[in-house]
Every structure is written in C-alpha cells, then in structure tokens.
Symmetry: none
Subunit: 416 residues, 2 copies
Amino acid sequence: MKALLIVSDGMGDRPNKKLGGKTPLQAAKTPNLDYVAKIGCCGIMDTIAPGIPPGSDTAHLAIFGYDPHEYYTGRGAFEALGVGIHVNPGDVALRVNFATLQEEEKGLRIVDRRAGRKVPEGDKLAEKLNEYSLKTAKDVEFTLKHSVEHRGVLVLSGPGLSYKVSDTDSHEIQETVQESKPLDGSKEALKTAKIVNELSTAFHKILKNDPLNQERINRGEPPANGVLMRGAGILPKVIPLNEKYGISCSCVAAAALYRGVAAAVGMKLYKAPGDTATYETNEESIAKTALDILPENDLVFIHFKPTDNAAHDGNPELKVQMIEKLDNMVGKLIEGIDLENEHYIVLTADHTTPCTIRDHTGEPVPLEMAGPGVRTDQTTAFSEIDCQGGGLGRLRGKDLMPIIMDYLRKTRIFGS
Amino acid sequence: MKALLIVSDGMGDRPNKKLGGKTPLQAAKTPNLDYVAKIGCCGIMDTIAPGIPPGSDTAHLAIFGYDPHEYYTGRGAFEALGVGIHVNPGDVALRVNFATLQEEEKGLRIVDRRAGRKVPEGDKLAEKLNEYSLKTAKDVEFTLKHSVEHRGVLVLSGPGLSYKVSDTDSHEIQETVQESKPLDGSKEALKTAKIVNELSTAFHKILKNDPLNQERINRGEPPANGVLMRGAGILPKVIPLNEKYGISCSCVAAAALYRGVAAAVGMKLYKAPGDTATYETNEESIAKTALDILPENDLVFIHFKPTDNAAHDGNPELKVQMIEKLDNMVGKLIEGIDLENEHYIVLTADHTTPCTIRDHTGEPVPLEMAGPGVRTDQTTAFSEIDCQGGGLGRLRGKDLMPIIMDYLRKTRIFGS
C-alpha cells in the first residue's frame, strides 16, 4: 500500500462574483478531481483551527501530522533545508534578500527590497560576505548562501543562539533597515540579535564597495548593496515521519519552503524537470517524477504551487486555469496507479487564499481521498462547497497523516 | 466589515410531542432566520463540548472565544459588572437575594428565597447593611448593591480572598441557611468563607430589627430579613476582545449576567428601551439600538432572552412565539445592513433548553452565518435538524469568535 499526498497551495477560496458566484474550484473543469471525490470520501479541514489563517510553514507541519502550536520554531530553517544548506540542531537560519540600500542620516533606506530581482552575482557576493569574521560573538560562525534571484539564506552556528529575534527587513520600501531585537528576555535572543545587527551593518559595508556592484551601477542596474534578514528559525524537534511510522517518504516540490518542511520531517527531496512553481510549471512532469519514485516510497508528497500564486495576484480566472492544470496532473497520476488495490490518493490545500482578499484566510480547505477500502459518500464533485457535506466531516490538519498512515497499516493500536 | 452576533438564549430544543414532533424552531414561522440560512452557511455547535450542559456564563465566555475550562472563575463578578458595580482584579463578588428567614433551633430556616420578589426597600436596606464593619477580617471591605426585585450583588475587596467558597443559599425553601465552606485547602478560601458567614449572620441581625421590615409585616408582606449568597466569582484574567483583535465591540442586553460577561471581555454596554428580557420585550427596539451603534463598532453582540424563559417554563407554544419575536428582530436587523458587501450576521444559542426538561442540556445548538464571501451550503431553513447537515459542520463554541474575526480581517497569520 502506498499513498500520494497532493497539496495544492492556497486552493481554497470563496464564492467569487467574477465567476458567477462560484469558487474557482467550482468554476473549473476538474473531471479527475471529481472522479476521486466520486469513488472516495470528502470533507473539509481546518489546517490549524477554525478561523485561524495558516502560514505555509505551519500548515504543512500540520498536514504532516505535527501540531504547529507544539512544533513550530520559525520559517528560516525550512528555507535553509529547502535550498540544500545543512542545518544542525540549534543553528539559527534566516531568510535573506539582496537589496538596494541608500545611506541617509536616519539610517539605511530601502530603495528596492529585491535589488531588481535579478542578481546573477549572488553566489560571488555571498562568497565575499562569508569571509567576514564576527566580532560580537567569536564562538559563532555563519554561512550566507544565495539561492535564486535576489534570495538566499543565512545560517548562524554556535552555542547559545535563539530564533526569537525580529527582522531587519522592514518589509516596506522607503523604510529604513530595522535593528533586530530580541523577542523574549533570554540572553540567547540578545546574543543572536547582536550578531544579526553586526552582520547587517558589515554586509552593507562590504557590498557597497564591491566592484561587481560598481558594474551593476554602470549597467544602470540597482546595486545589491545590502542584505535584508527575516524569519529566523531553528529546526523543529520532531520525530521524523520515516522513524515515527517506519516508512520511506519523499517530496516532489520546487519551492524552497515546502522542500524544507518536507526535509525537516524526514522526506527525501525531488524536483521534477520543468517544475517552476509558477504559472508555467510542467504539471505532467511533476506527475511523472512522482510516479517514478513511487515504487521506492510508501508516501510521496506533491506540492503544487501556482493555485496560490493566482490567488495572491487576485485573478480568479487564472486560478481556474491553474486548478485545471492541477486536474491534468491528477489525471496523469491516476493513470499510473491502482486505486482499487494498491494506492491511495489524498488531495487537499494548505490554506484558503481568496482571490478577493489576496492573502491567507481562516476558512477550512476541501479534502478528498480514495483508495482500497476508503468509505464512499454522496459527494460527486470536488469543491469547498461540495466537500462540506462529505463523509469525512470537518477535520483538523494534524489528524490527516494518522488517517493516511492507518490506510497504509503503519499505525499501532492504542491500548489493546 | 462589521458583524452582528445574536445569541438567543436557550433556543436549542428537542422534538416535542406538543408540536407534532417538531422542535420549537422547526414549528415557528421564521422567514428571516431561514433567509440567513439560505444565503449563508449553517452548522451545529457544542458551546462547551458534546454532552456538557453549559451554564449561561460559561457558554457566553466560550462564544466570545475564551475556553471556559481555562478562564471561568465563577459567576459573581459578571453579575456585579452587569448591574454596574466596579470590580477590581482579586475582588470576590457574590449574587445575593433578599429572603424571608425564620429563626429556629437548628438554624435560620428559609421561608421565601425571594422575600415575595417585590423589595422596593432594597436600596435603603443595602445602605444600612453597608454601615457594618467586618470583625473577622479588618483588611477587607464590602459593598452590597441592590439591583432589581429581590436581587443584588455583594462585593468583597481586600487582600487574600478566593472565589472557591460555597453558597449560603440552600436553593430550597424550608432548608436552613448554609454555612459557607472553603472549596479548596487554601487560606484564602478559608478567610473568604469566614467573611461570608460573618456577613450572613450580621445581615440577618440588622435586617430583622429594621423598621422597614416591620412595615412590610404590618402590610402583610414577607419581611426581607436575610441575605442569601451564592455564585462567588472573581474577574477572569482575559485579554479583552478589543485588545486581542484591535476592535471596538458592544453589547445590547438587558439581563445582568450577559451584560457582565460582555463587559468582562471588553464590550461597551447598551440597553434598548423596552428590552425587559421577558416575554414582553420590545424586539424591534433591540434591533434599532443595535443598528444605531453599529457604525461605531466592529462587533455588536445582541442577547435575546425570552426563548430561554419559555423553555424553563416548559411551554413549547410560547417558545415558538418567542422564536417568532426573534425572527421579527432579525428581519429588522437585515433591513438595516448590507449582507452582500459590508456586514456579517451570526446567529446561535448559548445552550439547549428543552421545554420537556426545563433546564439546560448538552445537545449542540444551531448556528448560521451570512455575509460577504461566506460559503453557501444546501441548508434553506434554520433549525436544530436542518443545521446538522450544514456546511460549517460541528464546531466548538470557542472556535466561533476566530471565525468571525477572520471575516472582519482581524486575525493574524499563524506562521508565515
């Protein structure tokens, strides 16, 4: 018995006037999603709890079976794992952006949070930054790694660090770079905030004089003369899925965060060729990669990103298209598995992102599952509205993984 | 975005033979409640937990988003706030009744728990009682305030008090006045119980010789010669709604308890002219007051009492009439708001009070909500039975406020 767990990011939505009062899922043509609903069982799920808008990180932790109220320790370490940086327990990781800063009397003003988005010099600039030695904490080392575009990750390694520090990134252009502050009274948070502030200042001094930035300016490009830091996090202390249930499990995802959460809970990481996590993503390639690795796995998690992108862009028609892309992916998956005898398919979203709101909200997400022995219900179409009447009722995110593991016969009787 | 939260007290019921097997909600003509069900989403809700009959105080705490298992600290402080007495953190408040007592060998026998219900001398009697000085605890002061009929509140202020003390009120006529006992092993509870017992004895001595009581006897009325005390409570340590969500919120209610819970969680208090909290209450006036204050509020809570009264009186036909009164109120509210673009309406009960039982029981209550973006479901009528198949599924009371706040965009993403 094996299971495919598909999470379509931000797929949940609200009735939308531009779609004649339907949700994007209702408006989309989804013969394959509907087929799973018809042969299987549906429900709605509060990834965190009713009314609580989930972050992408907390939502995935919950879907993987870890109550985020207990296990969530910030986003940074997931991002680091997701871009392939090794993170040790106790290391503090932060998401960073190369940015364009302007020196002013009141501080460093943020001119462009992304330094024009294109920073091909990122690897070389990171190399130079990594030569710097910390003055405020001689026992701490750091590594800055550039990933894609303007993005990267900074990892601090050493004793007595904490992820309870605020961002230097003001998240708004024209604002000044912020001083990182300890978010609790611990000496670890104070130490970490000092390190972050030292690096924030030092990185700007190093970058502003770098010849690569002079070349960018000469070409008319905004210089990558600063590093904004945000989302400090450490690895959550979880028993990973492979140990907890004695399974092998893998992830097919392109975006760093989801790969990182998957890695943190014990999944092997795969990326499908052509999976861009954008509107142009090659959904059939994602299906192929998942089917290719299925024989060596008990559980394959597939992350489908573009539904959320369309919602954040406030474009319900585009979200409909992305849902139809998802449906095509699911069709290819169904062709390659045996839902009658061998395989389970479980499909849901991590959170609701209404196109009208363009941000995460707290409504439950739709959920469907099918496979050998899964009870049926009267649901014959897959949408937020149809799933409300489904046989699974209203679940919490953290309850999903035990249900899947139970179908795979990987749970143990509690009691006797 | 603004929300109206309407709680119809004890509205939930059971199928009733006198109504041809229908519940009062099913039997009543409720075009407005049904309209909300039709355009919105329905469900059922365990205010506390399945099978647990909620008190009015714990139910409202839960509906306001505070888990009563964590936050409930007795009824008395709510009653005090509800009749306009200021209560400081740590003050212990008790509900009191003027009663008619008879001195007997075994103690003070309760002849009438309410001293004939009509005690117009209450304010003057309270004034005299407040002149007494405590002997057992010189550091504690008290205030007795008469409210309506035979009712009042006693507040104890001073260091080292506890609400964990039993009632002097035996709750049965012909029984004797009870000795208040500490309900845990703390010295605070022991100290408070001693104070309560001293006041119980002292108040009787003062009242029995009061000329106002002699006048009552001369008129053939039962003397108000004792004060029964019950329901000791302190203010719960909550972050009030206005701080928690950054909203302004108000309450339209007549009965002290509901006003008190609302005040304790940060609501401003309003009372509609003609809102008597009885069968004669002016429901259109309640709607008018709520609509009048809506512009200055994010959330207006409306308490509708008479549905519970009819249930406690065991009168299903009267409960049907009271539900139709509620429906008329909701009709007036709907006329004054814009459910398509601006306003949310959420309607539920605090608990089930079956007319056959005449007391609170543990069945879930029906729940409906409508407003911009609220997902629809197939429910087209509002009742305990219809709501069972609704799109909201089965919720807990404490989950309702986050859902409302999420629609008002007052929640924060958990995680990132």
